[in-house]
Subunit: 140 residues, 2 copies
């Protein structure tokens, strides 16, 4: 008879796992001069369906607040990884996209990130990842 897992314990477990994973991933990514969040932003921008993305959409996909995105992108724009363009249809929005320099950095970092993820999650086989992904999506 398996011991039943309640929501509270599960929430704690998820939180703990993510804390450990993100810390380790961030440490390793820092070799590339990027924080984990910076990488995730670039990863999203590089694979987004539309070339230029409103900041708030990015915030939603990163699980961050709008102000967090503002602060995250400011130095990336300053260093030229990300470009902002106005939306002629809506002057409130400032769309953001990867610069060509950003695309290059992304490509360099992406393979490294895959290795990091493989390493951090090496305890899971393909079926595990599949199942876990489905449940994580369902939980959100």
């Amino acid at each position: 008879m398996p011991t039943k897992t309640n929501s509270a314990d599960l929430l704690i477990q998820i939180n703990l796992l993510a804390a450990r994973l993100s810390r380790r991933a961030g440490n390793r990514l820092s070799m590339h001069g990027l924080s984990l969040t910076e990488y995730l932003a670039m990863h999203y921008l590089g694979n987004a369906p539309q070339a230029a993305v409103p900041r708030i959409v990015l915030a939603d996909h990163l699980g961050m607040s709008a102000s967090g995105v503002t602060r995250l992108l400011a130095p990336m724009i300053k260093t030229g990884l990300v470009e902002k363009t106005a939306n002629p249809r809506d002057a409130r929005q400032s769309l953001v996209s990867l610069s060509t320099a950003g695309q290059r950095v992304l490509q360099e970092t992406e393979t490294s990130f895959r290795h990091i993820a493989d390493d951090l999650l090496h305890g899971l086989d393909s079926g595990d990842r599949q199942t876990l992904s489905r449940l994580v999506t369902r939980a959100g």
Copy 2:
């Protein structure tokens, strides 16, 4: 044919889920005057096998650094939720435990946290939680 989930995508999904869950849980717990991490620390201390726990053990179970635990506990000791006692066997350690006031606050907050967790994870049934818990443990 299911699309295969690679480690990188899964890592991103886990990170995103945890960011959302912990933010929401923290917001709701603030009604009790506790941050999520403070609650988790008290929850661990309240259910720990031994009454008094070295700080570093607590840090490990919270996914935090030792310095993070020092800063987390300082105000909790000041307000009397947590007590520290010396370890006569090892003068480097300072063991921490819940005070009776801390136990009372924990009991008050624990039912609230269970409701929050049930609400945040209502998309998962008992079997989902079981499976997810197993995979999360395996991933760690």
